[in-house]
Symmetry: C2
Subunit: 221 residues, 2 copies
């Protein structure tokens, strides 16, 4: 019975996710679902994105958190619209709460929406929230075995950010193993190596993000 109820929930979740995707398409908005462990650096990556691209395209973020607004407060200083979703203990976002958050925005005035999912490598990967792409964020501090240990996310993600690479000299992280595992699990995934501390890879990341806003990019002088 428990399994049947879960299937029903997943089906209902997926139907709403499809509606969201259709709605965003009407507005030429791309939505990116950022998923990674607690401390993988999802919020830091968004800070870099908003400080670099904030004047060049119209962005919003749906901030998922278990119970605080810590991340939303960090992002409040950037030129970006923010909608908070507190899951009150739940370990992932679902399409129903993302839909409610979207209602807080004027979609006519947006090019790009980020979803910062709950810090968790397991469940968020199971729940389509209407995004166009899932982006996995993995900090090198977490170890080189995570692709094999948590394969669903890495199978679902179109892009993998290998994050905090400035710390590689101090860690026993086997890059070759990471790439070999990812090739097995998802040969099509694009990998970006990024450090928000040294800014290595931030340009490539921002360039890629801009490429998702097919039109509507506002050129600055």
């Amino acid at each position: 019975m428990e399994i049947l109820i879960k299937q029903d929930l997943l089906i209902a979740n997926e139907e709403k996710a499809k509606d969201i995707r259709a709605r965003l398409k009407q507005h030429n908005i791309c939505m990116l679902n950022l998923i990674g462990s607690p401390g993988a650096g999802k919020t830091s990556l968004l800070e870099k994105t908003f400080s670099t691209l904030g004047q060049r395209c119209r962005m919003a973020v749906i901030e998922g958190d278990v119970e605080t607004d810590e991340d939303a407060k960090r992002l409040a200083q950037y030129p970006v619209l923010i909608a908070m979703v507190n899951t009150h203990g739940a370990c992932h976002l679902e399409s129903v709460s993302v839909e409610k958050a979207l209602n807080a925005f004027d979609l006519k005035k947006l090019d790009l929406i980020f979803v910062e999912n709950i810090g968790n490598l397991v469940c968020p990967a199971e729940f389509d929230v209407g995004e166009n792409l899932k982006i996995a964020v993995l900090s090198v501090c977490e170890g080189d075995d995570k692709v094999i240990k948590y394969p669903l996310l890495f199978r679902e993600a179109s892009i993998v950010v290998l994050h905090k690479i400035d710390l590689l000299p101090y860690l026993n992280f086997n890059r070759a193993r990471f790439y070999a595992d990812l090739k097995k699990v998802n040969p099509k995934a694009k990998v970006l190596e990024v450090s928000c501390t040294t800014e290595e890879g931030v340009d490539a990341w921002c360039k890629m993000i801009l490429s998702f806003t097919k039109i509507n990019v506002i050129s600055i002088s």
Copy 2:
């Protein structure tokens, strides 16, 4: 309805957990539930524990993993009994699977059992698996805001291992903030700062672990 079913599940889980605790008490076994994010270093900490204490007390570990046996393979070289639990996608262990794993052991021959929970800061804290203590493992790489952002685990944990402290010089981790937050959330929690790389704090950790095996400690020559 979804909430009611969850409550039923939690109640059933707790009843079985009580049974487990009673059964372990009969055998003077202490069971410790290790909870932390993916890559917090739970398995590394167990490796150090088993290599240091393997000849001094009789230990077993219940290895929770989403779908692989990667961690169990790492631990197989140590003098410790291992029972694997694959959750097939689920993000936490429950008492029913821990009970099954316990049946694999001859409890008369054990002093201490570790449960290495699924790498996740959210749900494992909700599920009593019959342990005597919950131990939170937090890597400094995850950031100093995690106590506030994921308070349930830190409220439930009797011991917090602040892990990978050898990396502190390369990070922007505010120790004072971590301690202040923990004092608010759980003033009784005991903190151990540990690095498995430099071995700092490993002795204190092992000493504490030994203190949990009230009797049955086998002295070595």
